[in-house]
């Protein structure tokens, strides 16, 4: 690859290349216009001269047919006498080549068109178009017209073509350079901004002009993408912190159990260590599952799902567990609520919500599971969630202080939200007065 001289950076810009192409096309157009102009002006003068020659030749041949060489000579003399501008040239040559009449000499008498320079009496030269015609009885007739006017016109046309072409070339080139420079400058500014973002300054944003042109729109779009990236990055950092923090506790406990078992091997201690390890593995599995759901790859396997049937099945699974706590699980499930989704994930979403209600609801209380064509509502009459905490419970590992002592990883609702978002559902927490009311708004049926 050739060495890249920054001074020629503008030459590599798209704008400059487009300008060059444009310039070539413009020059071609100018050349076409010039050609047409040439044809209708200079060409016209030539054609006019040729027509006059043909006409003159015709008249002279006619007079020759009527009154012989003498008549032709007389006609030539008369014409020359009438030609005040010295535009016309004639030669009537005898069979031996001698001039019988006219003002031309030393020209070929072979049939055909030719052009030549004729020496003038004042010593100058002038271009002349001639036609020579051999005569039936020997000898030849040559008729010519002065071309100096046509030639002068051609000269002027050529000169203006050069000027116009040069001007078009220069203007186009200058325009291309300016455009290329400006595009290159704006692109370089964007590039520099992005480079500093890449370098770690995630807060840096591109300057968006007020013009609203494609560069401004691009810059705005890039800024929006950077905003999203930053949100994701901070979410990632938050999750990483949470994971590190929340895995430390079970790992510490595992370590303690193993220490105990090392001192005094006892099946109960080993079983406790195993339980801690299982819990850790469970947390990892849940985290992976949430991550997988959030990645959205499951959407590819979406199929029509009967949410009502899933809800019935979940209710049936949890009814005995609720009863064991003296709770009643009251269902109001509209039949045949269909949506497009992943049945396994939707099952888990509903199961997690019902399970949450069973675990956090008041013992002896009432748990509601209602499904209509536009929403799922799961409610309990437990302590509920204070309004300030409601958004946080969807975060991974977030657990209310009140429920720290009950088993649970704090990942259930995070998964619920991930599944809901995957399916385009909106989830809101409300007050069931008393208790928690979870409402999942179903997407509008397509």
């Amino acid at each position: 690859m050739a060495e890249r001289n920054p001074r020629w950076a503008f030459a590599r810009t798209t704008a400059f290349r487009v300008t060059l192409l444009h310039l070539v096309l413009t020059l071609a157009g100018t050349a076409l216009v010039g050609g047409v102009a040439w044809w209708v002006t200079a060409g016209f003068a030539m054609r006019q001269a040729a027509q006059e020659i043909e006409r003159g030749m015709g008249v002279l041949l006619q007079s020759g047919a009527l009154s012989g060489a003498r008549g032709v000579a007389l006609s030539i003399e008369a014409r020359l006498a009438a030609d005040r501008n010295g535009q016309e040239y004639y030669l009537l040559a005898a069979p031996d080549g001698q001039r019988l009449a006219g003002n031309l000499s030393g020209v070929s008498s072979e049939r055909g068109w030719r052009e030549g320079a004729i020496r003038l009496p004042d010593g100058g030269e002038t271009p002349v178009l001639m036609y020579a015609q051999p005569l039936p009885g020997g000898g030849a007739l040559v008729v010519g017209r002065d071309l100096s006017a046509a030639r002068a016109l051609e000269q002027r046309l050529l000169a203006s073509a050069v000027w116009v072409g040069g001007a078009v070339l220069l203007l186009g080139l200058a325009g291309g350079l300016l455009l290329g420079r400006s595009v290159a400058r704006r692109a370089a500014a964007m590039e520099a901004s992005l480079a500093s973002v890449q370098g770690g300054d995630l807060d840096h944003r591109l300057v968006v002009g007020r013009g609203g042109d494609e560069f401004d729109r691009l810059a705005a779009r890039i800024n929006a993408t950077l905003d999203r990236l930053q949100t994701l990055m901070s979410a990632l950092r938050e999750v990483t912190d949470d994971i590190a923090h929340d895995l430390r506790t079970p790992l510490t406990r595992l370590r303690q159990r193993l220490d105990e078992a090392a001192r005094a091997p006892d099946p109960a201690t080993i079983a406790a260590a195993q339980a801690e390890a299982d819990r850790l593995l469970e947390i990892f599995a849940a985290l992976l599952r949430i991550a997988q759901v959030e990645s959205g790859t499951q959407r590819a396997g979406f199929a029509p799902v009967d949410l009502s049937a899933i809800a019935e099945s979940v209710a049936e699974v949890y009814a005995p567990a609720a009863e064991e706590r003296g709770q009643t699980l009251a269902t109001a499930i509209a039949p045949g609520v269909m949506l497009t989704g992943d049945p396994a994930l939707l099952t888990q979403m509903l199961a997690n919500l019902v399970e949450n209600a069973v675990r956090h609801g008041r013992s002896g209380g009432r748990i509601g599971l209602a499904i209509t064509s536009d929403e799922v509502v799961v409610s309990d009459d437990g302590p509920g969630i204070p309004e300030a905490e409601r958004e946080k419970v969807f975060r991974r590992f977030h657990r209310l202080d009140a429920s720290r002592s009950t088993p649970g990883s704090g990942l259930g609702l995070a998964l619920v939200r991930a599944v809901a978002e995957l399916h385009g559902m909106e989830i809101t927490l409300g007050d069931a007065a008393p208790g928690l009311r979870v409402r999942v708004a179903l997407p509008r049926a397509a």
């Binding site: 997988q292 790859t297 499951q298 396997g301 049936e316 064991e324 675990r359």
Partner: protein, 233 residues
């Protein structure tokens, strides 16, 4: 160790992680099974086509030939040996993929050995033809699959539809340990582990209906493994 009845089962374990392979093989041998081992997909395919195995345990991620391709090749060769996939991947789609490739069961790593053993036993003893069975019997407990009626000692027992399915699942595997996860998957189609003791409560209700008031218990809990229904104590 959970009780394993019947003849020796010959198992092919295709697993590249030496430690997992050794752990699985040791456990299966202790349970009285014969184990062949392969550490990559090609050897696995070679051993599998040799035939003579009752169950194959295949890791999804294998060198040379991955587990899915291995099982597809085995199935293409007309070998119907039941296959259980092991995988470190827990995605919902992965399970479906494995079953579509010709696998019969799917177990995510890490797994409890009891879980694997129960599933292997279930696959090894799967009755070849199920459709002709219309009545399941365990001691004096009888399930009529056509009339969907259950009696014990001739006494009619009323079951909810899901309890019926649970009992049917257990009775079809008489004498085999059935784990909690197998029940969740097989009876309720739950492919995750609920925090609440849903399986336990369902089992205890079922027990209340089929065992309570009778001299002999049929539905037993196997500690650390699962449940089993069987006639002898």
């Amino acid at each position: 160790m959970p009780d394993v009845r019947g003849g020796t089962v010959r198992i092919l374990v295709v697993e590249d992680d030496a430690e997992t392979a050794a752990y699985v093989a040791r456990g299966l041998e202790e349970a009285g099974h014969v184990v062949d081992r392969a550490t990559d997909g090609q050897d696995g395919l070679f051993l599998a086509t040799g035939g003579g195995h009752d169950v194959m345990v295949v890791d999804r991620m294998l060198p040379k030939l991955d587990g899915l391709s291995l099982v597809r090749a085995v199935r293409a060769a007309g070998i119907a040996t039941p296959v259980i996939f092991l995988t470190a991947r827990t995605g919902v789609g992965d399970r479906v993929e494995g079953l579509e490739a010709g696998g019969d069961d799917y177990l995510a790593k890490p797994f409890a050995f009891a879980e694997l053993l129960a599933r292997i036993n279930a696959l090894a003893r799967r009755p070849p033809m199920k459709q002709e069975i219309t009545v399941l019997r365990v001691a004096d407990l009888e399930m009529d699959l056509i009339r969907r009626a259950v009696t014990r000692s001739g006494k009619r027992i009323d079951l909810q539809p899901r309890e019926f399915r649970l009992l049917e699942y257990l009775m079809r595997r008489e004498g085999q340990v059935v784990t909690r996860t197998m029940l969740l998957e097989g009876v309720w189609d739950f492919h995750f582990d609920p925090k609440t003791s849903v399986v336990e409560t369902h089992i205890s209700r079922l027990r209340g209906k089929i065992d309570k008031g009778f001299a002999r218990d049929l539905l037993h809990t196997v500690r650390g493994a699962g449940y089993v229904i069987r006639a002898d104590g």
